[in-house]
């Protein structure tokens, strides 16, 4: 893989209030970029209050190769409302552009005009947004679209692309709405084109025109729902909770049309209980929740492990503990996902690192759950749930269920649902199968499923060992190494959404001449220990950045391998910053082997 990325890599930040059409403008921008064939990652920030005129930010990174994190600095800021945008002028890089309204009839916001805050090295572009809009449409409503047009004209993005997306966006409204918006866009475009350009930002058409039409813009939650639907999900029982709710809402709309069953239950305990009941009866059954919901579900997870019932639980983490930070991202439910519950209850936990991974993990989770007859957790977080990325789904459905093979009935012997076999996987009959009647239980049981303590040790080993081969499940990336091959100075080990920032850090470190590699671990349970261990062997230092206070993944890995790691923990509610990780990588690169395990950054609180 190329060290750093070539080609286009531009990040827009559109900032305004809810009433300014900020998120809508961002949506059009990211869809347009994807249609052009660019790879996109985008993340919207809404005000915490549901109503009102709070701050909205839409950040869109457009690049030739897919990236999995947002840049710390944006190339372009488009202000739709200076009172919100002023605080963010600093995030524009040097020689980057700041676009803002400068028509005299616009009310000057408190704290002055944004132009007063733009630094000398940033390039200001004031334009008469309101006037252009009113002249083009007779109204001032489409100022967000004028701004898009201005940006497209200035940064050389073909107008036709936007026309197509605008027409799609307003397809359900009267034609006049589309016409007005296209007029607004074109007027902005003309103004942008006529502007004397002083910055170095240029988008243009991508060099290799990739199949932009095949690219689908998805959020992590949208990808999960899509993966579920392609896998032929039969039942979804759920209870709303941020940031998982949009999975539920999508399935509420899509599942009844697809012949599945959807029910909003009275709580998470009922949601997982019914999911387990449906899984037991042979359905592809899933639910989704966040940390507080998973806390309620842990007892039933244990029953799923004990009674060997397949089902899928998606967990989108938010800040915790308790009700915590419902609208902020965090990676602090790893312990609960991997270990939560009573007894030794090993289960499968998949933690995708990007939106495509959400799609693949959700799509494959059923098959894996069925193969190993056990619950599967797909662990994501708010940042992954809500951000958009371009995904090109396979043309053929690879997740659809294969026909079931009924177990044979042994002659002159009772059916042994929990037969101890070589691979620990027992023949599974479903209710309705003639002659296989049996009862499953959360009590320890013998091979027939009858309550008995006698085989506890063997049964524990069965339930544990049967999962080990999952670390090499065909068609699933359970862990993967990136960056320099062979021996390196610094290895960054990561999981979940933070891996995007880790990759970015790795490329930056390589550019600085630091020998650096990164490994993402997607399967957190069972842990692909062998390959992680090989990675440790190759690295002078292992750095584990993650969004929690205690270093839950660091603990998991160093506990499993018995090898030390350097931790980098943040719980600011925001994604990790590349600069912070990079500073740590630089420090480690200058440190001898065996030193530097105690990171200065880590004194913030994490324990080793």
């Amino acid at each position: 893989m190329a060290k750093s990325r070539n080609g286009t890599d531009i990040q827009f930040a559109i900032i305004g209030s809810a009433g300014d059409g900020t998120i809508a403008a961002g949506d059009i921008m990211k869809r347009a970029a994807a249609l052009m064939g660019y790879k996109v990652i985008a993340f919207d920030i809404y005000p915490p209050e549901i109503r009102g005129f709070g701050k909205c930010i839409s950040r869109i990174r457009i690049s030739s190769q897919q990236t999995y994190s947002l840049k710390h600095k944006s190339d372009v800021l488009i202000s739709l409302n200076d009172s919100h945008a002023i605080a963010h002028v600093g995030e524009v890089r040097d020689f980057g552009a700041v676009l803002f309204e400068d028509s005299p009839i616009a009310a000057i916001p408190e704290g002055g005009h944004i132009s007063a805050h733009i630094a000398a090295a940033q390039v200001p572009y004031g334009f008469a947004n309101r006037r252009i809009c009113e002249e083009a449409t007779g109204k001032a409503r489409s100022r967000n679209i004028v701004a898009l047009g201005y940006a497209a004209g200035l940064f050389d993005i073909p107008a036709e692309i936007f026309h197509e997306i605008i027409a799609q966006k307003f397809a359900k409204k009267p034609q006049a709405v589309t016409d007005d918006n296209i007029r607004a866009f074109d007027a902005g475009f003309a103004a942008g084109k006529a502007t004397f350009k002083l910055d170095d930002v240029r988008v243009g058409m991508p060099q290799q025109v990739a199949n932009g039409k095949d690219a689908v813009m998805m959020t992590g939650n949208g990808a999960v729902a899509r993966g579920f639907l392609e896998a032929g999900i039969d039942t979804y029982f759920g209870y709303p909770i941020t940031p998982a709710t949009s999975i539920m809402e999508r399935l509420a709309a899509a599942l009844p049309r697809a012949g599945g069953r959807f029910l909003q239950t009275e709580d998470e305990i009922a949601a997982i209980s019914a999911t387990l009941g449906a899984g037991y009866a042979g359905a592809r059954a899933a639910t989704a929740t966040s940390g507080p919901g998973l806390a309620l579900m842990t007892e039933m997870m244990g029953l799923g492990v004990m009674a060997e019932v397949p089902f899928v639980v998606v967990v989108s983490q938010r800040g915790g503990p308790s009700t915590g930070l419902p609208t902020k991202t965090e990676q602090s439910d790893l312990n609960l996902a991997v270990f939560g519950g009573s007894g030794d209850a090993r289960r499968i936990v998949l933690a995708p690192t990007n939106v495509e991974g959400c799609y693949r993990c959700a799509g494959m989770a059923f098959e894996i759950a069925e193969k190993y007859q056990t619950p599967v957790i797909v662990l994501i977080d708010l940042y992954l749930s809500n951000r958009f990325e371009t995904v090109i789904p396979p043309r053929e459905n690879v997740f659809a269920p294969k026909p079931r093979i009924k177990p044979e009935l042994p002659e002159n012997q009772p059916y042994r649902r929990f037969a101890l076999t070589d691979d620990g996987i027992s023949p599974r009959a479903l209710p309705g199968d003639e002659g296989h009647m049996h009862t499953v239980t959360g009590l320890e049981h013998n091979e027939l499923g009858r309550p008995s303590d006698a085989l506890h040790q063997q049964m524990n080993a069965k339930r544990h060992d049967k999962l080990t081969s999952a670390t090499r499940y065909p068609g699933l990336t359970t862990c993967k190494r990136f960056g320099d091959e062979g021996r390196v100075k610094v290895g960054i080990l990561g999981w979940g959404s933070t891996f995007g920032e880790i990759l970015e850090t790795m490329y930056a470190a390589q550019d600085e001449g630091i020998s650096c590699a990164a490994m993402k671990v997607v399967m957190l349970s069972p842990l692909p220990e062998e390959r992680i261990n090989e990675f440790f062997d190759d690295c002078d230092h292992i750095l584990v950045p993650e969004l929690n206070h205690e270093g839950q993944f660091a603990n998991l890995v160093s506990g499993a391998l018995g090898r030390p790691v350097v931790r980098l923990n943040r719980t600011t509610g925001a994604p990790m910053m590349v600069d912070e990780i990079l500073a740590e990588v630089r420090r480690l690169a200058q440190t001898g082997i065996g030193e530097g395990t105690h990171s200065p950054v880590q004194q913030q609180g994490a324990t080793t």
Binding site: P256, A270, L303, M437, H438, V440
Partner: protein
């Protein structure tokens, strides 16, 4: 043993019983209940009811929670799921939703249903999940060896109320009527023929049927809900009770300090599956949802 007590089954009677086929619904596991426990009548009753209704063994799923009563699935020759304490109903809802062809019977104790699982009952009832829920009410926690339950009488001394229980007991029948269960009845372990009839009717009902079954715990309750006391107390619902009249059913449930046996209430209304089918129909006719 009292010398006047005769063996229950004579040989010829046994043959007759075997011939009717209900024994095929008993499993090979012997019940673990204390001798004399009311639950034996439930095992007999359910096997008779399933046999009479001609439900094939593999098409029945008995789902239970945790408790002496919840051991039930092991003792019948059907599919069974012995789940978690209090989670009988949502698990059963999942089973039925996944495969509507199955006959689903949910079973639990008074503690399992009305204490830890109390939050699920209204929702299974209002949704009219097509299944039968039977609560074996002994007014005590049997499996954990004799603590009070939500249906324990005021004044009862259990291990957790050594100075006598002062909590007002719940009234399960009135609750289920208020929750809009579409079939509500009551039976008693000491009247096994009536019990089997009620089980048969409850399972035959299309929708959520609730059968409350009074049952003595002979080991941990020697004073209150004993066979002797219950035999003297139970009575039939009045002949002229109209089970389609919800207010009459409420009045009957409220009137009886002494429990009345029989069918309190019955109504026909769409089941959860009907509602889901209807939603699917409307969804297919609606425009496609946005990506």
């Amino acid at each position: 043993m009292n010398e006047h007590v005769k063996p229950v089954y004579l040989e010829e009677k046994l043959d007759e019983i075997r011939a009717d086929g209900h024994l095929a619904y008993r499993s090979k596991s012997l019940p673990t209940w204390c001798p004399g426990c009311g639950y034996f009548a439930m095992q007999e009753g359910l096997t008779i009811a399933l046999n009479r209704l001609g439900i094939r063994n593999e098409d029945a799923v008995v789902v239970s929670g945790i408790g002496c009563s919840s051991r039930f699935p092991f003792f019948v020759n059907t599919y069974g799921f012995h789940t978690l304490h209090g989670r009988t109903l949502p698990v059963a809802t999942g089973v039925k939703t996944a495969n509507d062809a199955l006959t689903v019977v949910a079973i639990g104790g008074d503690g399992d249903g009305f204490a830890i699982g109390g939050g699920h009952i209204p929702h299974a009832a209002r949704r009219n999940v097509d299944m039968t829920y039977m609560v074996f009410d002994n007014g005590i926690y049997g499996l954990t060896k004799g603590q009070t339950s939500p249906t324990t009488a005021v004044g009862f001394r259990s291990k957790t109320t050594p100075y006598a229980n002062e909590d007002q007991p719940l009234h399960p029948l009135m609750m289920l009527l208020a929750y809009r269960a579409s079939w509500v009845g009551q039976a008693y372990a000491g009247r096994p023929h009536h019990l089997a009839d009620m089980m048969e009717q409850a399972i035959a009902h299309r929708g959520f049927s609730y059968l409350h079954i009074l049952s003595p715990c002979v080991t941990f309750d020697k004073t209150d809900r004993t066979y002797a006391n219950l035999n003297m107390q139970v009575q039939d619902l009045p002949d002229d009770h109209d089970p389609t009249d919800l207010m009459a059913a409420m009045a009957q449930a409220a009137a009886h300090e002494i429990p009345a046996l029989g069918l309190f209430y019955r109504e026909e209304r769409p089941t959860l599956t009907d509602v889901m089918n209807d939603t699917a129909e409307r969804a297919r006719n609606a425009p496609a949802p946005a990506e």
